[in-house]
């Protein structure tokens, strides 16, 4: 126990001593060189610091830009997801666009204006209550009325196509109005 205390004390004294000795030795050498060298070194150090700062700034800027780019990309992705994942809904046996459906379509139109190179497929869907052929026709009417509304908002007809899936592709299963309401929809796919 005592021995280890001694060793610790010796180390505490000796190690800083050694460090001091080295730095003194360095100083001694630099003192021997010309004063010009010392100025030059300072300038160099300043320049180096300036460059380092510049680099840091540059990196910060790049990072900011990257963050902005990611954010923009994220927003774009969100807008794109929203375009594909938010549906236009209809009442039973109807292809009429109510206020909510029109609002959804206005945001679809905005996306299409912001992405002029994109084309969209509008799928018309029904709940499962009706019969197959009639629901195919109803799905066609739903997709068509969504398309016509977008055209009336200034979207070029050539960018829009439609397909009816009738009752063949429900997104919710089960029975009851909540399920049926989800399935009565026009759904957008970016092409």
């Amino acid at each position: 126990m005592r021995k280890s205390v001694w060793i610790a004390m010796v180390l505490m004294l000796v190690v800083p001593g050694l460090l001091l000795t080295t730095s003194c030795a360095k100083k001694a050498t630099s003192k021997n060189g010309p004063t010009v060298n010392s100025d030059d070194a300072a300038r160099k150090a300043a320049e180096k610091a300036r460059l380092a700062e510049l680099e840091r700034q540059k990196q910060l800027e790049a990072q900011r830009l990257e963050e902005e780019r990611l954010k923009a990309e994220q927003m774009k992705k969100e807008a794109r997801d929203e375009f594909e994942n938010i549906y236009v809904h209809f009442s039973y046996d109807s292809s009429v666009l109510d206020d909510m459906a029109q609002d959804v379509l206005r945001s679809k139109a905005e996306w299409l204006r912001n992405n002029p190179e994109s084309r969209a497929l509008i799928e018309g869907h029904c709940d499962e209550r009706g019969t197959v052929a009639y629901n195919l026709a109803l799905g066609d009417r739903r997709a068509e009325s969504a398309k016509r509304f977008l055209i009336s908002l200034g979207i070029d007809a050539s960018r829009l196509s439609t397909v009816s899936y009738g009752e063949e592709r429900p997104i919710a299963t089960g029975t009851g109005e909540a399920v049926w309401a989800k399935n009565r929809r026009a759904q957008f796919v970016i092409q």
């Binding site: 209550r129 009706g130 019969t131 052929a133 009639y134 195919l136 026709a137 068509e144 063949e168």
Partner: protein, 448 residues
């Protein structure tokens, strides 16, 4: 043959059927048609008590005996399927199995009337080296009279066809029409995990898959000669109309913008109606079997869909939303006159014109789901055929008008059922994995 089956040859003719199956017929001309046995237009039909003992193995071999019992059972099943017959339990028979006398002068008809049988079918079978000869007779037991007798010659695997033939003869002699035995049913099934088109025999036997595209295939419809099926397929990711000659594997595709759906063949012609929406609105068009438009048949904005033709092809029933809800209308093609048929309920679709021409079956939506209804073409006599049993839809008539095939999810999953034309005797047609829907019954495919 003569020594075998004695003499019934007052008149005989033969028919060459597909393959080796031959048929000789010796109906007694004096009897003519016996249409008064079964009135298929009578809703309160009494089932005729009928006895079919095992057929007689002429050579008494084991293989013959197997055919004899199999053939007798097959015939009994087919006859029961029509809904006209009640088979008497063979345990009640006063004769030994396999040893009945099969011709009129040997039969003790009192043995049959005594157990309540009004009709008796006897048969004799010779099986030699894979060649199957079968002779079948239908008797009126009270009159002690032969109603129809036929002799069939073919291979062992022609058995079902021979039995089908003779069932058809029995129905013809009793009802005056050829029945349903040469008809088939096409339907949609998800056996493979996707909706594909299938066909099966009139009694649900021998299901065959005819599309293999793993997409969505819908609404198959037979041409009246049973050679073509038209259907909608998403094989190219949109609803296109496929018009296919089944055996020759040829056909056409109608692939216009929008809908190409709901085909319905004109009776006796290779033309069909279908709904196309290339104009921006679903309208009904008349097409050739090559898919070319002959003319447009509807001119009202909004949905027009689901044609069913009158048997003479002069009128069409169809679904239209022109009055604000889907209802059934009838259009006379020549005059262009359209009248509304259904007024009860807010959702009436899928009309199916009966082969007799007097009634239309359709699918009505009400509080307890979808139900099959039948209505006279004059709008009278509305009757609901299904009640409180889930969704019941897609009615289609058998070629003789005696049965209706439809789909129902009454057992949880959609399957195919049949009932007689008055809604009784509802039973499942076939059992396959997955869901079955949209059945369509063909006409009889071969001339008798």
């Amino acid at each position: 043959m003569r020594t075998l089956f004695n003499s019934f040859t007052t008149r005989s003719f033969s028919l060459v059927l597909t393959g080796l199956l031959l048929c000789f017929c010796w109906v007694l001309p004096a009897l003519g048609a016996q249409y008064d046995y079964v009135d298929i237009n009578n809703p309160a039909l009494r089932k005729i008590p009928t006895a079919i003992p095992f057929f007689k193995p002429v050579n008494q071999t084991g293989a013959e005996k197997v055919i004899c019992s199999k053939a007798a059972d097959m015939l009994a099943d087919m006859l029961v399927f029509t809904g006209y017959f009640k088979m008497l339990d063979r345990g009640s028979f006063l004769i030994e199995p396999y040893s009945p006398n099969i011709v009129a002068r040997q039969i003790k008809f009192k043995n049959w009337t005594g157990i309540g049988a009004e009709l008796l079918v006897t048969g004799g079978v010779v099986l030699e080296g894979g060649a199957l000869n079968m002779e079948l007779r239908l008797f009126d037991t009270f009159k002690g009279q032969l109603l129809v007798g036929k002799r069939y010659r073919g291979r062992e695997d022609d058995l079902r066809r021979m039995i089908r033939r003779f069932s058809s003869e029995i129905i013809f002699v009793l009802t005056g029409n050829r029945g349903i035995f040469d008809s088939k049913i096409t339907f949609v099934s998800t056996v493979s995990g996707h909706k594909e088109i299938f066909t099966c025999d009139f009694d649900g036997k021998d299901p065959v898959r005819i599309t293999h595209n793993n997409s969505i295939n819908l609404s198959p419809a037979w041409s009246s000669d049973g050679q073509w099926i038209a259907y909608t397929s998403y094989a190219k990711n949109k609803p296109d109309l496929y018009i296919r000659q089944i055996k020759k594997k040829t056909g056409a595709v109608v692939s216009k913008k929008g809908l190409n759906i709901a085909p319905s063949w004109v009776p006796g012609k290779l033309q069909l109606a279908a709904t196309l929406s290339f104009s921006g609105d679903p309208e009904i068009y008349l097409l050739t079997q090559t898919g070319k438009i002959i003319k447009r048949l509807t001119h009202s904005s909004g949905i027009d869909v689901s044609v069913s033709w009158s048997p003479d092809g002069k009128k069409m029933a169809f679904v239209s939303r022109r009055a604000g809800s889907p209802q059934i209308y009838i259009k006379e093609i020549a005059s262009g006159q359209v009248r509304r048929l259904t007024f009860e309920g807010k959702n009436n679709t899928q009309p199916a014109w009966s082969p007799n021409g007097d009634r239309i079956a359709y699918t009505a939506m009400n509080r307890d789901g979808l139900n099959i209804r039948v209505i006279g073409i004059d709008g009278r006599g509305l009757a609901q055929m299904t009640h409180n049993s889930g969704d019941n839809e897609s009615p289609s008539w058998s070629p003789d008008g005696s049965l209706i095939v439809f789909s129902s999810d009454r057992e949880g999953t959609s399957r195919i059922y049949i009932m007689n034309a008055y809604g009784t005797d509802q039973r499942r047609l076939l059992k396959l994995p997955g869901q079955q829907s949209e059945p369509d019954w063909s006409g009889n495919m071969t001339a008798p």
